[in-house]
Amino acid sequence: AQSVAQPEDQVNVAEGNPLTVKCTYSVSGNPYLFWYVQYPNRGLQFLLKYITGDNLVKGSYGFEAEFNKSQTSFHLKKPSALVSDSALYFCAVRAPFILTGGGNKLTFGTGTQLKVEL
């Protein structure tokens, strides 16, 4: 079974400061990892993904994430936070295709509320 843990319910950061939203995962085989963002009363928007290759992945809106296989982590980062980044962030994992029988089910964490203040 695959699972995702987001240990922080909320992260507070001042605008202009760097931010980190933590995520650890558990899955058989090589993981496929994703970050999504959700604004109030909206669906999820894709930010970035890790499939293979470089451990530092760059995504939308200046976000990046660092994959660490030994620590089974995939933390989301941004060098300089904006007030408009305030939203709910979800980390998700998908098992390798060969293990899913053809499906690409995502397993999500419980989410981390990011609050960026002036």
Binding site: L44, K49, L106, T110
Partner: protein, 115 residues
């Protein structure tokens, strides 16, 4: 290019009733997945449809069923509604034949309230 669309936006039902939610995938996508997001929780996978067949299913009872049409749109049906079925139901689409590398695109969701 329209993204993933869902209807209706909001829905109020009473216990024991049945409900049908609808989803149209993003143009060029052929796979539709459904997720349930309870208040304060992450989305939970219900099932996935590809080539009009259910390909993968999460831990949801048989009261939850679905269908995919030849134009790739999909319906989620929930029978014998319970209070605990109140949630935001999200539809996501992707293009499966290009491999599992592609991300899923989500619709805005349908907010279901069961009274």
């Amino acid at each position: 290019d329209a993204g993933v669309t869902q209807s209706p936006t909001h829905l109020i039902k009473t216990r024991g009733q049945q409900v049908t939610l609808r989803c149209s995938p993003k143009s060029g996508h052929d796979t539709v997945s459904w997720y349930q997001q309870a208040l304060g929780q992450g989305p939970q996978f219900i099932f996935q449809y590809y080539e009009e067949e259910e390909r993968q299913r999460g831990n949801f009872p048989d009261r939850f069923s679905g269908h995919q049409f030849p134009n790739y749109s999909s319906e989620l049906n929930v029978n014998a509604l319970l209070l605990g079925d109140s949630a935001l139901y999200l539809c996501a689409s992707s293009y499966l034949p290009s491999g599992m590398l592609n991300e899923q695109f989500f619709g805005p969701g349908t907010r279901l309230t069961v009274l």
